[in-house]
Every structure is written in structure tokens, then in C-alpha cells.
């Protein structure tokens, strides 16, 4: 950047003040160092309205922002006595023109009551919209399943298979790692407690029961909600932003049949499989820790497992997988379709989707616990 003469304001004679303005009145000159602050201070003290005249002939260069600073200092009107070089004239003409335009009224301050009504009313309306949309989506999906059963050869099989790969196969690594580590931790903690009571052999019961019935499905669901739920919402949201959703409607392609149903079916198929996988990894982790901590051999562990854990628990775990998977897909798609065409809504929608999906999964888990409270013991 070339160096420029700094913008300055000076008062020539104290008694009949003529304000002389010199230097470069360019936005970058003003923004540099303390120039703007110095000018504001100079304007506040001295000239203001008392000045009988302004001399701008010392100005080297000017732009609209520089001109606006002076214009504001004049109280938004030309001073009576003004010396200008002809080049500066047009800036003030433009400002004067713009000044005559109506400004929008300031937004009125709401009273607390009005604010509360507006805020909570908006929230209620949003909730109502969410519920209606969700019910609509579930209804539409039911019809879509009917359509799929009626003409299975025209179903979105390719999409389903692609989603199974992305949501299921690609998640094997992370679910294995998390499952294994949780198994190790759980086994260590339980082993220490059981050892004090001399109940070492019951480790198999504790691990088997908690992992197969509870932790496996829940861990897999939370990981998938974070991993695939967010990606489903973001995908649909970006499709809204890029008008792909509108394009599909125009071509007569149903959003729910082509976008939501494949994801729902893929998740419903893949989640139980991921649950089995996570169960297995967690049990392996638990087995290893039991070998190290209590000296229980893996062979004993495996032999004891079928006696300790009734088969019903396994089926409950798988059932949870199907339900959790469907819930995640449903909620992620629902929030994805509700995203509006701006970046803020995209971020907000993705967050809401993941938080809601995880919460709903845990609520559903509690419902499972209540319904099946006397099964499988």
C-alpha cells in the first residue's frame, strides 16, 4: 500500500473558526492506526456546529466513506461556507441524494410480555410444524412401503444397497473400537467389585447381560446417530439449498420414496447387524480384560455365556437395533427436509437432528426396558 498523508482536521483561528481539512480521506487511511479516533476526538471538542466555515482544499484524495465522516460532522447538511476542489463535489452530491431516501423505521422494542409471547408462540408453532410434518412423513412412508410391496422390482434397491454400504460397512471400524474399549472398561470395573465378594464367576452374567441386552444396541445407535444421522440431515439440507429437492418434485420423484425410504430400510437392516458386531467386539474386550484381571479363560467365558444370558435378551437387542435404526433414519430425514435454503438453518437442522435422534433413542431404550421387564431373566 502506498503511504499517504494522514487525514487531519485543524482549526485555523480560534475566534472565527475555519476548519481546515487536509490529507487523504480514504477509508483505509481512516482505518489506519488511531486516525479515526483522533478525528472523532477533534470533531467532538472543537469545530462541531460553531465552525463558521470549512476548507477542504487541502484534501489529497477522498472516497465516499471519508466524505461521509465530514458530512456527519456537519450535522448532515452543507455548511454555509465551504471551500471545495471540484473533484470532491460529486461525493457530497451522492451523499445528499442518498440522504433524501427514506430510512426504514427502527425496529420497535417489544415489551417483556410481548417478547415472551412472540418467542414462545414461535416455539409452539415450530413444534406443531414438526409434529405435523413428522406424522405426514410417517404416513407417506407407510404408503411408500405399500407401493414397494406392490411393485418390488421398481423399488430403490440401488440406493438401499449404497446406503447399507455407507451406513453399515463404513461404520464397522468405529463401532468395533468403541465396543471393544467399553467391554474392557466394564469388565475391569465389574471384576474389581466382584472379586471383593468372591463372585468372580458372575462376571460372565454381568457382562453378557449388560452388553447384549443394553449396551451393544445403545452404543451402536448413538454412534450411528452421530455419524449417519448428521450426514443424512446435511445431505437433504444441501439438496434443499441447491434446489435438488425442488427438481425432484418437478420430475414427479417423491422425496419420501426416493430419499427417505431407502435410508430407513438401509438403517433398519444394518442396525441389527451393527448391534451383533458391537456386541461381539465388546464381549471380546470384556473377555480379554477378564483373562488379565481375574484369570478367567476365554473358553470358560464362552461356555458359560449361553447359560448366563437367555436367548430372549439377544432377540431384544436385535429388535432394539431395528427400532433405533428406523428412528434415526426417520428423524434425520425429517429434520433434513425441514431445512431452509440458508447456511444457518443447515447448521441448526443438523444439530437438532443429532441431538433429537440420540435423545429419542435413549427414550426408546427406556420404553423397551419397561415393556420387557420380565422377559429374559
Amino acid at each position: 500500500m502506498p503511504t499517504f498523508a494522514p487525514p487531519r482536521i485543524a482549526i485555523a483561528q480560534p475566534d472565527s473558526p475555519i476548519v481546515t481539512v487536509t490529507g487523504t480521506w480514504h477509508v483505509h487511511a481512516l482505518a489506519e492506526g488511531g486516525n479515526m479516533a483522533a478525528i472523532t476526538a477533534a470533531l467532538a471538542h472543537g469545530p462541531g456546529k460553531r465552525a463558521s466555515g470549512w476548507d477542504l482544499s487541502g484534501i489529497v484524495a477522498m472516497d465516499h466513506i471519508g466524505a461521509q465522516v465530514l458530512w456527519n460532522a456537519w450535522g448532515k447538511a452543507r455548511p454555509a461556507q465551504l471551500t471545495l476542489t471540484p473533484g470532491l463535489e460529486s461525493f457530497f452530491n451522492t451523499i445528499e441524494e442518498a440522504e433524501q431516501q427514506a430510512r426504514p423505521d427502527a425496529i420497535p422494542q417489544l415489551s417483556f410480555k410481548a417478547w415472551a409471547i412472540a418467542t414462545y408462540g414461535e416455539k409452539l408453532r415450530n413444534l406443531r410444524g414438526n409434529v405435523l410434518d413428522l406424522v405426514g412423513l410417517i404416513g407417506q412412508l407407510t404408503l411408500d412401503v405399500g407401493r414397494l410391496l406392490g411393485r418390488p422390482q421398481r423399488g430403490p434397491w440401488k440406493e438401499i444397497s449404497a446406503h447399507i454400504y455407507h451406513i453399515g460397512y463404513r461404520a464397522l471400524g468405529i463401532t468395533a473400537l468403541v465396543g471393544f474399549l467399553i467391554g474392557v472398561v466394564l469388565s475391569y470395573l465389574s471384576a474389581q467389585q466382584l472379586h471383593t465378594f468372591g463372585g468372580d464367576v458372575f462376571l460372565v452374567n454381568i457382562l453378557g447381560m449388560s452388553i447384549i441386552r443394553e449396551l451393544g444396541p445403545l452404543l451402536a445407535a448413538i454412534l450411528v446417530a452421530g455419524r449417519s444421522g448428521s450426514s443424512i440431515t446435511a445431505q437433504l439440507g444441501v439438496m434443499r439449498v441447491t434446489e435438488e429437492l425442488d427438481a425432484m418434485l418437478v420430475m414427479g420423484l417423491s422425496h419420501s420414496f426416493r430419499l427417505v425410504l431407502p435410508r430407513l430400510l438401509a438403517l433398519a437392516v444394518v442396525m441389527p447387524l451393527l448391534v451383533i458386531w458391537t456386541d461381539a467386539m465388546a464381549l471380546i474386550g470384556g473377555m480379554l480384560a477378564a483373562r488379565l484381571e481375574l484369570g478367567l479363560s476365554p473358553a470358560y467365558f464362552l461356555r458359560k455365556l449361553p447359560d448366563a444370558v437367555a436367548l430372549a435378551n439377544y432377540w431384544i437387542g436385535l429388535g432394539k437395533g431395528v427400532v433405533f435404526g428406523s428412528l434415526i433414519a426417520l428423524l434425520a430425514s425429517h429434520f433434513g427436509l425441514r431445512i431452509k435454503a440458508n447456511t444457518e438453518s443447515l447448521g441448526e437442522g443438523t444439530t437438532t437432528s443429532v441431538v433429537t435422534a440420540i435423545t429419542v433413542v435413549i427414550v426408546a431404550d427406556a420404553v423397551f426396558a419397561i415393556i420387557f421387564n420380565d422377559v429374559g431373566y
Binding site: 463535489e89 451522492t94 442518498a98 426504514p104 440458508n342 447456511t343
Partner: protein
């Protein structure tokens, strides 16, 4: 301004050869995978002119523009803007450079989470030096200059029509009073009326703010009514460079097809009156610029 866009040109010391170009592209090559887009391309942009870059689809017009802005790195060669190499300048210098240019993106690229007013105010606030009431006045001035009312400033980008998005984007590009303005397809997606008024707007602003303009366009009407010089990208380099009248006479097959088709002839006929003034002005400089 009484002297029109001229000051920068007429006050420049007489021998034009010593006036450094504002943008100078030297030996530029761009390769994407196996595709060679530019090969040993050189181009100068002079102070105060409107240079249009034209070329077929995939000829690397927008890529060249993005390389001038430092958004993309060429495979070889240098791009200097205001004498600063945009690929190798220090961050502080690059920041100063960025304050001196403005870019109008093809689709506006407005921040969708901010309303039109805040979009224009953003670069001014980013200086952290101007008081808020000054920013408010300055934004209203900028909106007024691009022909928008203060009421429009309250709208979100998603509520604006295509033409208004372009105007807001132009106001944002001009927020910090740049010396150099880049336009990517300034009139694409606008109806003929709007596009004509947008062209007039750019001409008026350029006169008022003494802008140097570099634009990429497909639209022949825009081209002939705005451009002082045209650079035609074809065969991976600048196939022709000069005033519209000169470029049209080039024997290059792409240029023949592009300008001398029915569309081109129609646009040229329509533009003669409008472009005449600019042509003459550029011609004046041309005489001592061209070797």
C-alpha cells in the same frame, strides 16, 4: 466528478510505457490432472480500463480470474496485482491487497445468514476502526449507489430477486472503495432490461470511483457496452487482445464464430452508440500504449 474517469489516466506521467500495469500475468500455466487449461499465458491490465476476458466453456476464464484473486494456485508462472505476487506475498501485504480490490461473484455469494445491510457492512466492520453510526450511513450510501432502497437492506438474501442479489453483492464488493473490481459474469441470469441497467450502473460507478474493472462474461451485449479491451482465451493462451473493433477482425476461428455469428453481429450493431465513448477513450490511450 467533473473530469470523469480520466484523472487516473490523464494525470499519469506521459510516457505510458513506464506506467506499471495493475495486474500482470506472466508465463501462467494451469494443469488439472491431464487437462492443460493455460499454457504460458501472459496478460496485462492497465489502470482505469475495463478488460473483458472471453472464451469458450472450459477455456479457463473463471480459473484465470480466481488465480488473479489468489483463490487458486497456477501450476507455473506468476500473477502480480498492484506489483505484489498474489501467490507469494506475505500475509500482511496480501491483506492490504485484498482491501484494494472487490469481487462480484457470479451468484452473488452473499452470506445467507446475514441480511443485505449486514452483508454490505461486513467488510467495513472487519476494519475494526469505523464507528457503527458511520458504517450505517456508509452502507445506506452504498445501497443507494447500486439503486437499492434502505428498506431492501432489511431483506435476507433468500428473499431477494436475482437482480437484487447482484446489486447487493456489487455494493459489498464496493464497500471498502476498491481501486480494482473483478466481475464474474456480471449480467448472467438477468433479463435484458435488468442487465442493461446493471451495465449502466457499473459504468456510472466506475466513473465515480475511478475503478479498474476485470470481468469475465459470455454476454455479447454486456461485452460490447462495457469492455474497453477484450482478451480472448483460446488454445490455452490469449488468442487476441485489443479493443472490440480490433479483436473482431482477428482471423482466429473461435473469434470468428463467437463474434461474427448472428448473435455477435446483432450485439455489435446495438452497442455501437453505447460503446463508442469508451472506445474513443481507450483509443486515446491505445495510441501510446500499443507498441
Amino acid at each position: 466528478m467533473s473530469a470523469g474517469p480520466a484523472p487516473a489516466l490523464t494525470t499519469a506521467p506521459a510516457p505510458a510505457a513506464t506506467v506499471a500495469p495493475i495486474i500482470s500475468v506472466r508465463g501462467l500455466s494451469t494443469v488439472f490432472g491431464d487437462v492443460v487449461v493455460h499454457q504460458d499465458l501472459s496478460l496485462d491490465v492497465r489502470q482505469g480500463e475495463i478488460l473483458a476476458i472471453v472464451g469458450g466453456s472450459g477455456s479457463g476464464k473463471t480459473t484465470l480470474l480466481r488465480q488473479m484473486l489468489g483463490l487458486e494456485r497456477p501450476s507455473a508462472g506468476t500473477v502480480e496485482v498492484f506489483g505484489e505476487d498474489v501467490q507469494r506475498a506475505e500475509p500482511a501485504k496480501l491483506q492490504l491487497l485484498r482491501n484494494r480490490w472487490g469481487m462480484l461473484f457470479q451468484h452473488g455469494a452473499l452470506f445467507s445468514a446475514l441480511n443485505a445491510f449486514d452483508n454490505v457492512a461486513q467488510p467495513m466492520r472487519e476494519l475494526h476502526a469505523l464507528p457503527e453510526d458511520l458504517i450505517r450511513d456508509a452502507v445506506h450510501l452504498k445501497l443507494h449507489m447500486v439503486g437499492l432502497s434502505a428498506q431492501d437492506g432489511l431483506k435476507m438474501p433468500s428473499d431477494l430477486s436475482g437482480g437484487m442479489v447482484k446489486r447487493v453483492a456489487l455494493a459489498r464488493a464496493l464497500a471498502l472503495e476498491p481501486e480494482l473490481l473483478f466481475l464474474d459474469e456480471p449480467t448472467a441470469g438477468l433479463d435484458p432490461n435488468l442487465s442493461e441497467s446493471f451495465v449502466e450502473l457499473i459504468l456510472a460507478l466506475r466513473k465515480e470511483m475511478q475503478l479498474t474493472v476485470v470481468m469475465v462474461t459470455h454476454d455479447l451485449d454486456t461485452l460490447f457496452s462495457l469492455a474497453g479491451r477484450i482478451a480472448v482465451l483460446a488454445d490455452k493462451h490469449v488468442a487476441a487482445l485489443g479493443t472490440p473493433a480490433e479483436v473482431v477482425q482477428s482471423p482466429h476461428p473461435f473469434i470468428k464464430e463467437f463474434f461474427l455469428g448472428a448473435r455477435g453481429l446483432r450485439a455489435m450493431q446495438g452497442a455501437h452508440i453505447g460503446a463508442g465513448e469508451i472506445d474513443r477513450e481507450i483509443d486515446k490511450n491505445e495510441t501510446h500504449h500499443e507498441s
